[in-house]
């Protein structure tokens, strides 16, 4: 069985709700003549009550592996950061940092069995975007290249990457989480 390769797409295709919501640059690529994005309010434990743009809402028909729920919103809290939040719209406390793997791994590809490609309807013309979850501790930051998230027209699936050598904890050198510092805002490095 020849696996199908899916290359990480241009992340910018994905809509993301910018926080704080007052930011007029708002929700990702403006579709020329596209539908007016609706909004919905969602409660979050990290960011309080927020408004999310319809085009930043991702639906996982099968959910994230091992986690409850199926609707999430992609949130951008720092325009300069390659990291986004995948915030559950059903569990206020559930949110995962995600990023575009192509930003860090130029030759990253997702390989799936033909059957999986067909099962998920990914073989067609629509572009497929790839996100990976980020596990960050004060010691290290890693991304899950083995179970990436594929997104097509706002439908998302977490799949198992058949490509050789992909790690579930792929290190991101040069990336870290600062130890909590009281009173320090999110801006600025180090």
């Amino acid at each position: 069985m020849i696996p199908t390769q899916i290359k990480a797409g241009e992340f910018e295709r994905l809509g993301a709700s910018a926080l704080p919501a007052a930011n007029a640059a708002g929700s990702g690529p403006a579709a020329e003549g596209g539908p007016v994005a609706g909004r919905e309010v969602c409660e979050t434990s990290r960011f309080g009550s927020i408004e999310v743009e319809a085009d930043s809402v991702l639906t996982f028909p099968e959910g994230l592996i091992g986690l409850p729920g199926s609707r999430y919103a992609l949130l951008c809290t720092d325009q300069r950061s390659p990291f986004y939040w995948l915030q559950s719209l059903e569990d206020t406390r559930l949110a995962l940092p995600v990023t575009n793997p192509h930003r860090f791994f130029g030759d990253f590809v997702v390989e799936l069995d033909d059957e999986e490609v067909q099962r998920l309807g990914l073989g067609g013309e629509d572009p497929v975007d790839v996100l990976v979850t980020v596990t960050a501790t004060t010691q290290s930051t890693t991304v899950n290249l083995k179970a990436p998230i594929l997104v097509r027209k706002q439908q998302a699936h977490q799949v198992l990457n058949r490509a050789a050598g992909v790690q579930m904890k792929a290190p991101l050198p040069g990336v870290g989480v600062r130890a909590a510092q009281p009173g320090v805002g999110a801006s600025g490095r180090n």
Binding site: I65, G66, D78, M168, G176, R178, R189
Partner: protein, 72 residues
């Protein structure tokens, strides 16, 4: 847990639309064939658990996203 014994070539039907067939039995290894609707993903248990654990760890990040400190 329901425990069923099957011989080579025999099948189990789950929920009316998932079929599991014993394709091959060799030593301590059983090869299974699984027919399921498109909407039903199928995983090896140990991989599923590993991904679940990684998802849970990723979700335990409090409020700070990582920052890029090095030159990437």
């Amino acid at each position: 847990m329901l425990r069923i014994s099957r011989r080579l070539g025999e099948k189990i039907i789950v929920g009316g639309d998932i079929v599991i067939e014993v394709l091959e039995v060799r030593g301590g290894t059983v090869r299974l064939g699984i027919d399921a609707p498109r909407s039903v993903p199928i995983y090896r248990e140990e991989l599923w658990l590993e991904v679940k654990s990684e998802n849970e760890q990723a979700a335990s990040t409090a409020t700070e996203l990582p920052t890029v400190t090095g030159d990437f």
